[in-house]
């Protein structure tokens, strides 16, 4: 009897729709949600940043930091996919510190969404510019037409130090960039290298982070040739090179700015104009 009921249960499982286990709440659900492996209940708890309040750093709330320092930086702007709250802390912690790499795709797709928003924003700006220029000459209008869609040229992940890489087994920024890269077909080059091991950022104050970060990054000498080689293959060598720095969390932006500087220098050496932006998963 129990045998029969066991078989019946198995047969039922065969016919039932597949259940996926939600990465956030751990429950099984039939799942038709916009994100993979997340149930629709949890999907609504994700704190998306739809429209950033601060156009520089992409923060979802008013931002004193961007007005505070007037240091010149090659970084044009940052955009983040989500606000860094309890839900995201848990998610990123599970991924980064526990090493549950099942989250890679989910978090990568979140980053991809942020890229989509950035792209739309850039294209809108372009439209506005175009409207202004339209009156001037028809010719310039035609000339710009090809640039109607905005596209980044290169992704550069923020590196982690060698010791951390061995300990963790992966570089989260690089993995997220990998997902974005395969979604959008933008190449990713790990141009940067961490020159010294800065301790965990999460234990430091703002001032400490800022001073710590200067000169923490350099161009990987082994990648210079590859970069130069890659530059040769560009279709439109005169257009500015749009680089996107990829990272998981943007807190003060010191990491990203420290990464942007060597990239700017590298571009100057190679004689190309660059536009450096950054894309991060979460904005605290």
């Amino acid at each position: 009897m129990s045998m029969l009921s066991q078989w019946l249960r198995k047969a039922e499982l065969l016919l039932a729709p597949p259940l996926t286990r939600c990465l956030i709440c751990g429950k099984n659900s039939k799942g038709s949600s916009p994100l993979p492996e997340v149930c629709s209940n949890c999907a609504v708890t994700i704190p998306w940043i739809q429209v950033p309040r601060c156009t520089t750093c992409g923060r979802h709330v008013g931002c004193p930091d961007c007005t505070r320092s007037n240091e010149p930086t090659p970084l044009i702007c940052n955009r983040s996919a989500v606000a860094y709250n309890e839900v995201m802390r848990e998610l990123i912690g599970q991924y980064k510190y526990r090493g549950n790499e099942r989250y890679t795709l989910l978090l990568g797709l979140m980053l991809d969404r942020a890229y989509g928003l950035l792209k739309a924003e850039q294209e809108r700006e372009r439209q506005v510019q175009l409207k202004g220029q339209k009156r001037n000459t028809l010719f310039s209008y035609l000339g710009y037409k090809g640039e109607d869609t905005w596209r980044a040229d290169l992704l550069v992940p923020v590196p982690v130090s060698g010791a951390r890489l061995v300990e963790r087994g992966f570089n989260q920024a690089e993995r997220l960039g990998h997902v974005l890269s395969s979604c959008r077909g933008i190449p990713q080059l790990a141009l940067l290298l961490r020159t010294h091991h800065t301790g965990k950022q999460s234990f430091k104050s703002r001032a400490e982070r800022l001073s710590d970060m200067k000169h923490a990054f350099a161009i990987d000498p082994g990648m210079k040739d590859r970069f130069a080689g890659w530059l040769q293959t560009r279709l439109n060598p005169n257009a500015p090179l749009r680089i996107i720095i990829v990272d998981d969390i943007y807190t003060t932006g010191s990491t990203i700015r420290a990464c942007a500087e060597p990239l700017q220098r590298l571009a100057d050496e190679c004689g190309v104009a660059v536009e450096i932006r950054s894309l991060t998963l979460a904005r605290s």
Binding site: N100, G169, G177, A190, D220, G222, M223
Partner: protein
Amino acid sequence: MKAATYAVECNGTWRVWISLAPIVDFCWWEGREEKFGGWSHNQGMERLVLLTLEMPLGWAVLFRDRFRSDKHMHTWSAREWSTYIEDILQAELKAEGDGNGNGNGNGYGYGNGDVIRYSGRLLTGISMWECEGNRWRLTGRGCNMGVSDDNRTDEGQAFLRSEQRKATNVTSFGDERTEVLKWNSNFRDRSDREEEIFLGERIENLALLARQAEQLVHGVSGRSLLEAELEALLLDQSPELCAPWRRAAQLAHLQGRLSIEAAVGEDARGGAARQGLRQLPLVAGALRAAAAWPPHLGFRRGFAPRRALPRCRRCGSAATARTPCAACGLSGCAYCEACLALGRSRACTLLLRSAATPAVQCTASSDPTVAARRWGLSAAQAGAAGAALAFLAERRQRSAVPSPEHSTVPGSKRSAVLGSKHSTVPNSKRSSVPGPERFLLWAVTGAGKTEMIFPLLEAVLGAGGRALVATPRRDVVLELAPRLGRAFPAESLAVLYGGSTERWVGARMTLATTHQLLRFYHSFDLVIIDELDAYPYHNDPMLAYAARQACKPDGCFIYLSATPPTDMQRQVKSGKLAHARVPVRFHGHPLPLPRHLAADPVRICLKRGALPKKLIQELQISLNRNAQIFLFVSRIAHIEGLLVLLRRRFPSVVIEGTSSQDAARGEKVMAFRDRSISLLVTTTILERGVTVPQSDVFILDADSSLFDEASLVQMAGRAGRSKDDPAGRVFFISPQWSRSQRGAIAQIRTMNRIARQKGYIRKESLQ
């Protein structure tokens, strides 16, 4: 991580070793004089082939385990060795190549190219050594052999040089800087002709290292630790070992006291399966041979068995996830998703294990009556504890019999009768299951299980053994710890739970939540598992595996449960599982028998907005007799609606509801214990653990499929716990009878009947 791998020929037999610090291995195989305790004497080492200084640890372990010595190996050149390695790791190399070919190759700067060229590089990493006195001579090297064509030789030279540089890195930790520099310069200054290196005084203080190895083994004995956990343990327990631990560990490994494994690897249970097969009759053996035959026919692709999934050696789960890994450079390095919470276990993570000393020869069996008096046990408790003690004692006799096979001893040697009449001895069959022996203490709810474990612990600790009490819940651990401390003031006690500060304390008595068992390996003589059938232990093969690993192979398990899982009940019935029952509560009154009230399901009542009349009447009776009421429901969603109806009906009574989703659950349970809440509507989360002196239990929708027999018995067990109010009232409220309800009532009846037969029931409650 990556590790060095080499093969050594001793007395004509080849063996492969993995090394965390190759310099230690060179010193070891040189052989030492007697005065160096902990170092080998001359072992007849003939030659050593250093295969590689950096192989992904997972592969190194696979290679080591699959390696078979061959008598022609001493004639082999580097080329043959590299072909042999490629052959053995064929499947892995192929999978790695496929992974890269699919375009999901990793984007790391390392690895990708390395792996594709790995097989080519194997050759150049190989070097062959012979030792005369304590002088090592290089007799052959990969890049010098045969590869005449093209630039591969150059590449090989470059690779060898980089390997050598890395070799110095591998060993460059600790304070023995000078020595490392010497080793370094030795490599750097060496021209191609000068192929001797001297290791005589390489490690300046061999005796010191031997002591460190001793200390390390002592610190990790009986544990199963990942590299990161070992580092944490050393930081906590012996910080002076933090720097040189790799060398110390390598020496201990060479001494055979520490095993080096990859945390995820080929099926760790293979051994057990093979043992089982050995006992099959002849025909089955022939069939098995036939089944093993086809691969030799060359139908490899079609007939070869599908490669088993790699398993986590720490928790036993299949590791399905594969990701590119920066630590070993492979693009498909497997990791285990089941035990992530204790640190990630991957195919290239180092897992160090050291079995504790062999199981103790226990003292002569202690007298159950004395024990009962000392621990204040009731007659029923004493009877069962006596049976368990007899089980332990009888095991002692058995282990005293020298036996070639440790874990499988014919059951005929077991004495037929145990101390107590109501225990059964399983015969012969059970010994076919290798590993620790099991004993079930089946004690009804409120029987006082905790008191019964004291005499058992006493017996094992008295014999110099190590004991573990594992319980599912943290609060039980915290509650039990001081009691154990008081009971055994002279013994060291480690209390382990998530976030405990005593994580790395070595003690003879360990009290832990079940997940902590993953960190032990063949450590305990006695493992007591409390509430075997409760979450999380029940239905979690990982924890069962962990418990098996934690117990010494000839140690034993004692399970405590009021409601053993059905398969265990079946084993009890068929006599395959030794057990003892405690059929009565400590106060000697029978268990309250549930009554059935026929009523509409809660769903309907809520819709109608009225509670069943019979339910209200019975609730009123309970409230009148001043009892606190547990009202169990099957669904969290019903709680709110019920609260409204109940509060409307009983406005003067304090009524609350709680569930797993309630943030204030802890406070509400506390308030219920303090009697400031009289009626608590809840789900199965409170089916165990919460004890209130005077309580009645109402179970709504008792026919729900969410309530199985065990949880009905447990819920019914909330009533009548106290000596002053032994006759609590229990009601199953449902439209119809179900199998679980009948089963639960039958189980309670059986226990009461056994108790009456044994004369455990007090006279006043018999009337």
